[in-house]
């Protein structure tokens, strides 16, 4: 069959109208039409070859196919239809091109890609981050904890007003709990601070737990404080803080790679999605820490009531932001999850 197109000499930008003759035995010949023959004489004979000795561009969309001869001459076809028929006869078809045109593969690809994206985000990244976080040397955790404490002391915290006696009581409460639960070599340390009317507890990357005076006041008995401490020990047990740092790093790299483009809007989109996803991870971690605390409470005291009580008391003011914009799950959801552990 004969295909119309144009030929270009090696290393040149001059196009010459040409015809390509494709034989059913695989033979290929390029015939140049308007012959300013003087530049062609040497090459002329070489423009005759066979399918084994020529580079044919891979099928891609509807881009015109090009044939590159060993001596560097190229022929580009005006129309691909005949070439595709000839290549099929020669058993040279691109399976990739067929996949890309097939609607079943396309739909399957959409489903599988969305599914794997969902799986990677939901389970893959937290799991990998957990493994990586385990291998981070304790020195790093210590360093980060010192840095955060220094920062918090400078900006938010004020010194605790609790009596030394009360502080000592709570410290021994912590060591009595942690000796029964933590098998790790790290012993949690307890610090006391005051934080402008906010009842809260914090865990640092080296296992230090900080209680605010307001939380100690809010709790009705030491059993509730044990529940809070156990929740924080749960974070430490699951290495949540380092895990979250690794998660954040992975997410930002991924988001920038996927969303990022030349416009600044891409970056805004990327950081927004990183924020939302990291909040989701944070909620998962909170539930995991609750579960840890509930399990210990159940085996030690036979009831998870203390944890539920302190959680409900912490919910002093109703939150107005929607669930997906919060770092902690709603109290209702948390209490329900705890109840699953102790259905009574």
């Amino acid at each position: 069959m004969i295909i119309k197109g144009k030929a270009v000499a090696p290393a040149s930008a001059i196009t010459i109208a040409a015809e390509l003759i494709l034989n059913s035995d695989g033979g290929i010949e390029c015939v140049l039409s308007s012959v300013e023959a003087n530049i062609l004489t040497a090459a002329d004979s070489a423009l005759k070859t066979d399918i084994g000795n020529i580079t044919i561009s891979r099928a891609l969309g509807a881009i015109p196919r090009s044939f590159t001869f060993v001596n560097g001459w190229t022929f580009t076809a005006d129309d691909n239809a005949k070439i595709d028929i000839w290549l099929r006869q020669q058993n040279k078809q691109s399976w990739l091109h067929r996949l890309e045109k097939n609607s079943i593969t396309i739909i399957t690809s959409i489903l599988l890609s969305s599914l794997s994206a969902w799986y990677v985000i939901n389970s893959g990244i937290p799991a990998i981050s957990g493994v990586i976080a385990q291998s981070i040397p304790p020195v790093v955790g210590k360093h980060l904890a010192d840095y955060s404490l220094e920062y918090l002391d400078e900006h938010d915290f004020t010194p605790s007003k609790l009596s030394i006696k009360r502080q000592d009581e709570l410290t021994s409460l912590l060591s009595s709990i942690s000796s029964t639960t933590i098998t790790d070599n790290q012993k949690p340390k307890l610090l006391f601070r005051s934080l402008a009317d906010t009842a809260n507890a914090f865990t640092l990357t080296d296992g230090t737990i900080i209680l605010t005076d307001e939380l100690v006041m809010l709790a009705q008995d030491d059993r509730e404080l044990s529940a809070v401490l156990l929740h924080e020990i749960g974070h430490q047990y699951h290495n949540h803080l380092l895990k979250r740092l690794v998660e954040l790093s992975i997410l930002s790299v991924l988001a920038n790679y996927i969303v990022g483009d030349a416009t600044g809007i891409g970056d805004t989109l990327a950081s927004a999605s990183v924020l939302l996803l990291s909040l989701d991870y944070s909620q998962q971690d909170e539930l995991e820490a609750d579960k840890f605390a509930a399990n210990v409470l159940l085996s030690e005291y036979g009831s998870v009531q203390a944890l539920e009580d302190i959680l409900i008391r912490l919910e002093s003011e109703p939150l107005t932001s929607p669930t997906w914009l919060r770092s902690h799950p709603s109290i209702g959801e948390r209490v329900n999850a705890i109840n699953l552990i102790d259905p009574l």
Partner: protein, 374 residues
């Protein structure tokens, strides 16, 4: 007059795009190198000028090696950022020092991988000039701004408030666009003058004054938009207070939402204005082989509309519309680009250049250093 034409189709490219993604997932990212080549080949191969298509020549294996090194570098960078910000700062400084080298190698690679007919493009800029235009001049500009700011605050402000304010305004509306123009002119001049199509050189004659005019208008436009937003916000708040205090909280958050959207739109508008005008000017000042003249007919509102609708499409489809937006973008860019002059290019011959890898190419992509003229 020759018009660029783009022949890609959204539906056709969607199949290529989604299969690229699936195969990249299945091969744990290894296929992404092949995917990149296929994507570039699709966009280059569908771009037509004077009856002929462009071609992208990179081999997937080169890309893969570059990509592996880039992934390692990005991971180290992300880890440093999370765990040791101090070391990260040191690494960032070191990165700035090698930045011009990366850009030069990236340009060399990209140009060499671009073919039109049987002639490849090339970039022959020296490292020395790259350090001057990409490191020394920007640094000098920053220092100049910093020093004049400090001098104004420390010495002029105490002497006379009015004079100080006048100085600050002058710095903002005159000095900073001038320095921006000075740096941009040098950088684009360097890139274009060192680019060639085979043996035929591109040459440009950029004037700092022209780019200064565009930069100054850009800054004035941005200021006007921000002032307008601030005024509207002020009016809204006042009326909100006087009408009702019942829905005040939701009113305030709605106002902030409005302000945020308006800010983004305003930023985009001024950015697009800048891009469109700079592109038009630089192309008009550039010639290939002293006779082929590129022309840009890009306009602010159509381009802004395109970017906004593309953004909406991507957000509403969770990214699935990305291939369509890429095709729309390429279509628009081709439709606003022409070339005037004789394109038979009979005297062009391909130049043999030494091989270079794709490492710099992948690194600059990974760290989002989009350096290119226009």
């Amino acid at each position: 007059m020759h018009q660029f034409k783009f022949h890609g189709k959204g539906k056709e490219y969607f199949g290529i795009w989604i299969v690229n993604i699936l195969l990249s997932i299945i091969t744990l990212g290894i296929y992404s190198a092949w995917a990149k080549v296929r994507t570039n080949k699709y966009f280059y191969g569908n771009t037509e000028l004077s009856g002929d298509r462009f071609d992208y020549l990179a081999q997937p294996k080169q890309i893969l090696i570059g990509r592996i090194i880039a992934v390692i570098a990005v991971s180290i960078w992300a880890a440093l950022n999370a765990f040791s910000p101090k070391i990260a700062v040191v690494v960032m400084l070191a990165f700035f020092l090698i930045y011009p080298v990366l850009v030069v190698r990236n340009l060399r690679f990209d140009m060499k991988m671009t073919k039109f007919r049987n002639v490849r493009f090339n970039f022959t800029g020296s490292y020395k000039s790259a350090y001057i235009v990409m490191l020394l001049k920007p640094l000098a500009a920053y220092i100049a701004i910093g020093v004049s700011f400090a001098v104004t605050l420390i010495y002029i402000m105490p002497f006379s408030k009015t004079l100080g304010v006048i100085f600050l305004l002058a710095m903002f509306f005159i000095a900073s666009p001038f320095l921006l123009a000075w740096v941009m002119t040098a950088m684009n001049q360097y890139i274009i003058d060192n680019t060639g199509y085979g043996n035929l050189p591109f040459a440009t004659n950029l004037k700092t004054a022209e780019i200064f005019k565009i930069s100054a208008k850009f800054i004035i436009l941005m200021t006007l938009i921000f002032v307008a937003i601030a005024v509207v916000l002020g009016l809204l708040n006042v009326s909100m207070d006087s009408i009702s205090s019942l829905s005040k909280e939701s009113g305030i958050s709605a106002t902030f939402f409005f302000a945020y959207i308006a800010m983004i739109l305003g930023m985009m508008l001024s950015q697009v204005y800048f891009t469109v005008r700079i592109r038009k000017y630089i192309l008009s000042a550039t010639k290939l082989d002293n006779q082929v003249q590129p022309i840009s007919t890009m306009a602010v509102i159509p381009y802004l509309t395109l970017l906004l609708t593309n953004l909406l499409l991507i957000v509403c489809t969770f990214g699935l519309a990305r291939p369509f937006t890429m095709i729309r973008h390429a279509n628009y860019i081709a439709s606003v680009t022409q070339v005037d002059g004789d394109l038979s290019l009979t005297n062009a011959t391909d130049q043999i250049t030494n091989e270079s890898g794709a490492i710099a190419d992948e690194l600059s992509q990974a760290f989002d250093l989009n350096i290119s003229a226009i």
